[in-house]
Symmetry: C3
Subunit: 320 residues, 3 copies
Amino acid sequence: MVDHLLGIQGLSKSEIYRYLDTAHSFVEVSERDIKKVPTLRGKTIVNIFFEPSTRTLASFDIAGKRLSADTINVSIGSSSVKKGETLLDTVRTLESMKPDVLVMRHSESGAPHFAARCLSNTSVVNAGDGQHEHPTQALLDLLTMRQHFKGRGIEGLKIGYVGDVRHSRVARSSVWAHLALGNEVRLIGPKTLVPEDFARGTFGPGMVQVFDQLEPGLEGLDVVVALRMQLERQEEHFVPNLDEYSREYCISERLLSKVAPNSIVIHPGPMNRGTEITSDVADGPRSLIRQQVTNGVAVRMAVLYLLARSVQSLEEVAHG
Amino acid sequence: MVDHLLGIQGLSKSEIYRYLDTAHSFVEVSERDIKKVPTLRGKTIVNIFFEPSTRTLASFDIAGKRLSADTINVSIGSSSVKKGETLLDTVRTLESMKPDVLVMRHSESGAPHFAARCLSNTSVVNAGDGQHEHPTQALLDLLTMRQHFKGRGIEGLKIGYVGDVRHSRVARSSVWAHLALGNEVRLIGPKTLVPEDFARGTFGPGMVQVFDQLEPGLEGLDVVVALRMQLERQEEHFVPNLDEYSREYCISERLLSKVAPNSIVIHPGPMNRGTEITSDVADGPRSLIRQQVTNGVAVRMAVLYLLARSVQSLEEVAHG
Amino acid sequence: MVDHLLGIQGLSKSEIYRYLDTAHSFVEVSERDIKKVPTLRGKTIVNIFFEPSTRTLASFDIAGKRLSADTINVSIGSSSVKKGETLLDTVRTLESMKPDVLVMRHSESGAPHFAARCLSNTSVVNAGDGQHEHPTQALLDLLTMRQHFKGRGIEGLKIGYVGDVRHSRVARSSVWAHLALGNEVRLIGPKTLVPEDFARGTFGPGMVQVFDQLEPGLEGLDVVVALRMQLERQEEHFVPNLDEYSREYCISERLLSKVAPNSIVIHPGPMNRGTEITSDVADGPRSLIRQQVTNGVAVRMAVLYLLARSVQSLEEVAHG
């Protein structure tokens, strides 16, 4: 029986801390002169991406290599999918090559969960599925907050997600995490991108507050999460136009200094500077955006380690 | 002088067994906790694919890495070919970077043979050339049969290839192997896809039987090989339409139970479920389809090992 | 503080020799049975290519792997660039994953220089930027000449660049190198591709001679560098048509035997045989074209080594 990381929904607080504690111990590996540990030598990690990706794929690839695993990157789009093979057959075929972990990004929500149900000997990591979950991004955001709020910890925080919450798998994964940790979560954006009933329908009644105005939404926040506005949202009529959107919802230093002066700001990237975030915030002292990327490698090392080593870990427990 | 693996045609029975024996010894490497041997450390394997591929490329890549070789994947299509460089110059350029093995897939029949003639220090492996050969697929099929028919061996078997034999490099390589082993081979499919004179013209008179009806073709077979029906064959008027094709030629459990009850079924993948094979066969007890993929890694490890180590092996013989 | 290799312009003679001496010591690694040294174990090299490339990418990838570094290849085009991310954010994001070296190819001149200014902990190598520089190609050409002119050295040579000099980043980098070494440089081609004022404007008055006729240009040369004629130049009206171009400027054995009988010929590749170079030259005894490719791996090993080890090298100097 193998473990998977398919989403944050359903993870307990202690499971979340287990990932964060492990990631914490991997942070310094990437600071070393020789950035490599032999932990996963002889393990095979297949990164199968059905959607293009630069940063997440590179991050998983680097994470695997720094653990001394063999990493295989499979980009689907031009090959088997065109040939009409089912997702079931694609993942079973890959499993038959005996990888230890399958890291999957897919445009369909639930695809990694389906893969996990089909496979019996390979761990599946969800690297982003449709508009559903992106659990390693949520974990790296938490690790970043934990480093910043060293003294007080990451429970009891006020967090706000700003922008296109409706389509954001990052926001969805993260809100589940914050609910598990008992944090106060706000979703902030135009009604088309943060419908009132969406929050209730997704996370349950009373769990999450919705704001359709930026200033009251940001007020008193500890953490502001700027979400990427995808340019195609304008064509899809979710926002009238991007200029107008940014006048109402772009996160600026002027506003943060006024209503959330001690807040930190993070962004899952890639950023549209001037649309959802101003450059003075992105490059300013409250921005932990680059630290997020650094932590992304550590979190993915932790996830790969915990999944690929799960059998031995149990043995270690047994003999420990 | 280096060795190549360009095709099965012309290989002797003992050469075939040499690949199978070596592959057999590599099967268990992929079952280990640490799936890696240092055999090809410091060797460079270049996988140059002029056609898109998921499974074959991943299989060679994993095989190389499990032998501790450095693997370089070069996908051609968007770069040098567009720039007008000849195949000769492309492979000579790569050879000048001192790889030990060049694994090549190409849409033109004979391209790897041409490459092998041009190169003097690099072994070439044919990973599929046009409608000509795909030798590692034939070898992995044989390894799979050998594991199944453990007691009696793989000589004296009755094998049938069903479907689009005309365009199948897998079938062509495999038939050469079975003729070398003295097996009885049948080609089964509509006359457009298995012309009577094609079998004679390719393999010689009297070597291979042709059937244009499924039931008599399957009768008494030990091994049924379902071939992939490419959807474009309908547009090319090789089959009237795929529904009609599958009514006549789809391999079903009902039929196999009746006419070849002890047969095993294999498929080179990717499968069109419901077109050339029913799901009850593909996922049933006589299917060895997933085992084929597992064996693919072992066969490719064997091929890379035998070619990249050829010089030393001779030395070992000399000093042994 | 990290070092970069952004161009040849501005390098001193001793800096050029430092690269060549180091590359010289790496040449034999690729001749070994085990083509690998542990020098950069635990280092991360990211090859980020904004333009398609086969040979240069493969060369850097092989170079990194033969030094035991982890190499990550990021092809941009389909992912983040489409998502509207700035180059600044793309390279900063990658830097946050803690690579030691970023090898960059970009269609815009100056992109690697911009990246180098943005980054503080990652070395940048220019693998070709627009029509500006391609320093590792210039260095591998020099290494090739140095091997050939073993006795007399590479100073005081007469070198000619033939063809599309205007658009050639290879020619530009190389001319800077030859000017640093005190070599005589000629640019040879039709006036549209080698404008008189271009040479003056780029390299300064009196530094470089321009010839619009092949025969007098080649006369007495020690080294002839054939440049690739891009087919689109005809559409852009730089040459009337390629047949006419090749009648005037194609480098042939007949002509070389007559006017530069002891010359060697190199070409950065990929070649258009029959357009800028005849096959009797390309495949003949004066051609060092394949040796260039072999040297390319050694030069890139040297560059990666010198940049990724720069801190330790200084320490070595301090403690040495």
